[in-house]
């Protein structure tokens, strides 16, 4: 093997160890193959999409003659060329056309060009003559509500107690509104698909997707063929973050239609700008809240509405807005509560999954309520948080009537408060600000409680396929996809641990709908929970057969058969694992198994708004300290301290990477990442030159990240670990609140600055001016 051996390759009990990402050596050498790097089939053609130039209306005429006749062009595709259903809606609502006739957002795909080169296709796409009947458009949530725009999907209400009476009788009451911006995924590898036609109806699609099974089904619908004719493959993505959960469907479908039509291999890869314009993002929210509370800050009632910019179609807006409501409580008990979602249609690209899936927007709304109470009472928001934590008599039921039975937030916050020296530093910040200088500081500690499981209960299942070849080498396949999160590494660790063999005897293989069918999206942080269990199940089936074989062949009892250190021990005898496998093969033992897992004990009645949608909760807490420049609004994060709960970690190094990365990504969402539409409904922040994600120099100057190593999952998850993909993103709410405190200092903390997100330098400066103008002191 032409690679440098990693020190972890030889580990046989690799769980809970810092095993390197299985592809690390290929990442650094440029040898990791992404779809655009694959050796191209002979005769490969390229497709490029033509996008609408209006935000709302219909196509009066579509003249593609110049496109057709452009150099290198073989043909075009429009809605009439689709053999099956012109729809890639993931929810079956038929509201997501492949090629639109009724235009609902600026940049909506309306046709495609097929050419010899990508450049030729792209150049030709610009030559289309399209006449539109333009209608007025709405891009903004508030305007959509004002104009009575429809919902794209059924809203949700969560209700417990009597919020209305609770608010009326509360000692204190306040209300307000918060705007929470969306976020582009900015995966470094943009969308891409390559389709290769086969015989009969067959087509094989390489798709950069988190959800190969859905791509398979969508391609089948669009081609009007059975799912068994379509095979979808993905070895790795260059980042996804939710942006490739449903958004890959369209690209795969277009590639497949073209492949079948021209009987040639087809590749589609939009330019970054088109990718950002034409694919969905995190939902923007408008949160209206009304809260009643006691003099000590304890909440007595909350009534809040979460209106979302869903874009032109439902996509995943239903479950996303549901999850916003599920997290509006964060770690706090609301005795009387009424939460409503409003999933508004807008003339913007349909928003979609993004790490946290609505949870962050719900949680940031909940934390704003805490902040408001703190400023109203003149207290440290941390005090308000503590008096509202779940726990104590009858105070452990969420607005969706699930009991919080694994709460560790109290201990996490207590430990972090001490380890980060929070109280002393807060005092120093207050003293600094008292000097009235241009640079102001803020500090904030915020907690996270995040529910783990798909709220679409049927998604909580997974499969794996494990083969042991007769030389003892192991082939691992599972339904999850690798997007950088280290899922394959973790599942391989589990498998190595089951068989007690070295990691490097396990081959991780591309996700493939022909190997494991009917998979769920790798999403909701569930990848290792589900697929780790499925792979363990497959291993256990094979092991059971091997134990049986050993008992028969060597006359030992089952408890005398041990897998250890690349060997199999039975009674007093030992065989090297490959030798033992060879013997089993010769005795005709089946050395392959399909594993399966489904999460137990979860149920959810959406109509009633009650159930146990989450198998367990993951917790965390962060302290952020920031400095702001009150002349320009610019800022930086001086320090962040994080204590996060991943249960018993499968791989502390990978988990730490998820926490650091999630925090910085969350920080970007709440600070510099701004989506901006012009009056024509065009997204103008559609490339890294205009859309600013954090840089190395934006990360906290001091960044202390620790795992709560005493935590273990109370549920029987894989090796008692907890999911880690999404929860850390919300730790960055501490940055927003620290900025808020720095702003509040200019008015002596008498007024809640009500910083909207993203708190760009402009947003910070304008808040400084507003508070100065209000003349507190």
């Amino acid at each position: 093997m032409n690679r440098q051996a990693n020190i972890t390759d030889k580990m046989v009990s690799p769980v809970n160890r810092d095993v390197f990402h299985d592809s690390a050596h290929k990442h650094v050498s440029g040898e990791a193959v992404y779809i655009d790097d694959m050796v191209e089939p002979a005769g490969l053609l390229h497709v490029y999409l033509g996008l609408s130039q209006i935000a709302n209306g219909s196509i009066k005429s579509l003249d593609l003659s110049k496109v057709q006749s452009a150099s290198g062009v073989l043909g075009v595709l429009a809605s009439d060329d689709i053999p099956g259903s012109n729809d890639v809606s993931p929810t079956g609502k038929h509201d997501d056309p492949v090629f639109a006739q009724k235009i609902e957002f600026h940049g909506q795909p309306i046709f495609a060009v097929i050419a010899e080169t990508r450049e030729a296709a792209r150049n030709a796409a610009a030559l289309a003559k399209v006449e539109y009947d333009t209608e007025p458009h709405i891009t903004d949530v508030a305007a959509a509500r004002e104009a009575n725009y429809p919902f794209v999907t059924e809203p949700l209400t969560l209700k417990r107690g009597d919020a209305s009476t609770g608010l009326k009788v509360a000692k204190n009451r306040l209300n307000g509104q918060m705007r929470v911006g969306g976020q582009d995924h900015f995966y470094l590898e943009g969308h891409i698909a390559m389709a290769i036609p086969g015989e009969d109806d067959d087509v094989t699609v390489y798709s950069s997707t988190q959800h190969p099974s859905e791509v398979q089904h969508m391609v089948a619908h669009v081609l009007n063929v059975s799912s068994n004719a379509v095979t979808v493959n993905i070895r790795r993505m260059g980042g996804a973050f939710g942006g490739k959960e449903t958004q890959s469907n369209l690209f795969a479908a277009v590639a497949a239609v073209a492949a079948k039509k021209f009987n040639r291999a087809i590749k589609i890869r939009p330019d970054r700008d088109d990718d950002m314009v034409a694919t969905g993002k995190r939902h923007d929210f408008l949160v209206d809240y009304d809260v009643g509370f006691e003099d000590n800050g304890r909440i007595s009632a909350v009534d809040a509405t979460f209106a979302a910019r869903c874009g032109n179609s439902a996509d995943l807006s239903g479950p996303v807005t549901d999850r916003a409501l599920f997290h509006a409580d964060n770690c706090y008990y609301y005795p009387n509560v009424l939460l409503k979602s409003q999933p508004f249609k807008t003339n913007t690209v349909s928003n979609t999954a993004f790490r946290g899936f609505g949870g962050p927007q719900g949680m940031v709304g909940g934390e704003r309520i805490i902040e408001e109470i703190a400023y109203a009472l003149g207290k440290d928001p941390l005090e308000i948080r503590k008096v509202n934590f779940y726990g104590g008599d009858g105070r452990d039921v969420t607005p969706y009537h699930q009991q919080v039975s694994d709460n560790i937030v109290g201990r996490l916050v207590e430990e972090l408060e001490a380890s980060s020296d929070y109280q002393k530093r807060r005092k120093a910040v207050l003293e600094h600000n008292a000097k009235q200088s241009v640079v102001r500081k803020g500090i904030s500690l915020t907690p996270v409680k995040f529910g783990i499981s798909f709220t679409a209960t049927w998604y909580n299942q997974a499969g794996a396929l494990v083969h042991i070849y007769n030389d003892g080498s192991i082939h691992l396949n599972h339904g999850g996809t690798e997007m950088g999160q280290g899922l394959n590494t973790k599942v391989a660790q589990v498998l190595a641990d089951e068989f007690q063999v070295a990691l490097d005897s396990i081959k991780i293989t591309a996700t493939h709908t022909g190997k494991v069918p009917n998979t769920s999206a790798t999403a909701a942080s569930s990848g290792s929970d589900l697929n780790g269990m499925a792979a363990a199940n497959a291993a256990q089936q094979i092991k059971a057969r091997l134990v049986n074989f050993a008992c028969e062949k060597y006359g030992v009892k089952p408890d005398q058969v041990r897998f250890e250190q690349n060997k199999v021990r039975f009674g007093k005898e030992t065989l090297e694992f490959p030798d033992f496998i060879k013997a089993a093969y010769m005795a005709r033992v089946q050395l392959s198994a399909a594993g399966f897992y489904k999460t137990p004990d979860i149920h959810w009645d959406r109509e009633a708004g009650t159930g146990r949608p989450f198998y367990y909760f993951a917790y965390g807490a962060a302290v952020s300290e920031v400095s702001i420049d009150t002349l320009t609004g610019e800022y930086h994060v001086d320090r962040a301290d994080i204590l996060h709960d991943v249960g018993r970690s499968l791989n502390p190094a990978i988990d730490k990477g998820q926490i650091e990365g999630g925090f910085v990504q969350g920080m970007g969402w709440l600070t510099t990442e701004e989506l901006w539409w012009d009056d024509e409904g065009r997204l103008k922040t559609h490339a890294p030159s205009t859309y600013k994600i954090p840089l190395a120099s934006d990360r906290p100057r001091i960044f202390n990240v620790a795992l709560a190593d005493w935590s273990e999952n109370r549920e029987m998850t894989i090796r008692r670990s907890k999911a880690v993909g999404e929860p850390p993103l919300m730790l960055a709410i501490s940055v927003l609140e620290a900025l808020s405190m720095a702003v509040a200092s200019v008015a002596n903390y008498k007024e809640c600055p009500r910083l909207d997100a993203p708190a760009t330098p402009e947003c910070v400066l304008m808040a400084v001016e507003r508070l100065k103008g209000a003349e507190h002191v």
Partner: protein, 490 residues
Amino acid sequence: MAKIRNQIRFRLNDQLIELDDITPALTLLDFLRLDQKLCGTKEGCAEGDCGACTVLVGRLSGGELVYESVNACIRFVGSLDACHVVTVEHLKSKDGKLHPVQQAMVDNHASQCGFCTPGFVMSLYGLWMTNPKPSNNDIETALQGNLCRCTGYEPIIHAAQSISKNGKVDDDPLILERQSVKRQLVELSDGARVEIHYSDELLIVPSSVEDLADARQNHPDSTIVAGSTDVGLWVTKMMRNISPAIFISHLEELHGINTKNDSINVGACVTYTEMQGLISSHLPQLKEYWNRIGGEQVRNMGTIGGNVANGSPIGDTPPILIALGATVTLRCGKKQRSVLLQEFFIDYGKQDREPGDFVESINIPLPAKGDVFAAYKVSKRRDEDISAVCSAFKLRISDGVVSDAIIAFGGMAGIPKRASDVEAELIGKPWNEENVSKAKASFDKDFTPLSDWRASAEYRALIAKNLLQRFFLESTDGNSVTRLNRDKAA
């Protein structure tokens, strides 16, 4: 007339490349990925902002071989004559051992999805070769042009700090082969003009400034390509035809920096990186500002001449140059003329140009004794972002009274422009808080800024005033803390 060669020649890793049938619009990235099938270099954005396509380009500069990180996505192959292109594929040793930079990235768990990783490896390689023990600040500066969406950067910084544990710079192949590569590049620099006709497109690499002047006069409709940090996007984003294209970044005569007592003269192709030393020694007031221009790759490619010639209202250097009273020398054939930079910018998209001319050099008077000078940039993200507003202030204060003032802004109008009403309000008056406050109101007479995705009109108007305030505070109390100091944070 110089002799003509119909071929671009350069070294790619350890191979000589000779091309005689390329369009001037061919980018290095497309050449690597589509033609050479070197797919380690990735396309993330095709506009020089994400760094996934980072490669090193070695070139002769003053007789030395210098390697710099550049964005292959907006670098044209036409600009690579007699250069050495080094891609990520070149780093592993023949026996398959990872390079010290690569090993450090692995050891520190510094890749997740891995797509940005080759770009980071190349940026860090470029840094490590000249700076094997970089400070935190050095590392961040070198990585300003590289985006990672997965890791939060922390492990990448740790990797950068630990590269030297895995090997010595002196043992690095590019250092060991330096002499032979240099010889080869010297040989390739044969003094010929390169001309490639491709279909109806024309690519010219002139042999000298004389030759450039000729070529430009013969092709007044040509696109002059220096650093290509702007022209690159004309091709990759606007799909514009840039033919006939004249590539000039290799012309050593345009890389000259001449320092006199009271002024400096810089050639049009001097890059931001090449200016770095001069900034430290002669214009230390600009040190912080300078590293906020683009990212490292863009500073390695982008030129002062280009920043002026493209006439953008949000270029980072024009306000500075205007405040310092710079003049630009335009050359047309043998004729040269000098224009005060503030007069060069006539209107949005319109500069004082003649057909067939080009920007040859810029003369920058240095602040005199008694001048107070400062420049400030405000952007949504601190580094590698286009200005919402950029500004430069130069005041002469005699006996506490403002005797002269130049205040120039970018981002406030259709061109880089002076705040003449504010200047007039300040001149002749004592430099004090009261007069500064009064003068601020005049910004509203000078400018009617626009609202766009970078900033609203209100915000722009407000920070213009606040930057004058900052300038006042800093000029009157050197100890006052008026800026964020990242190095002293926490």
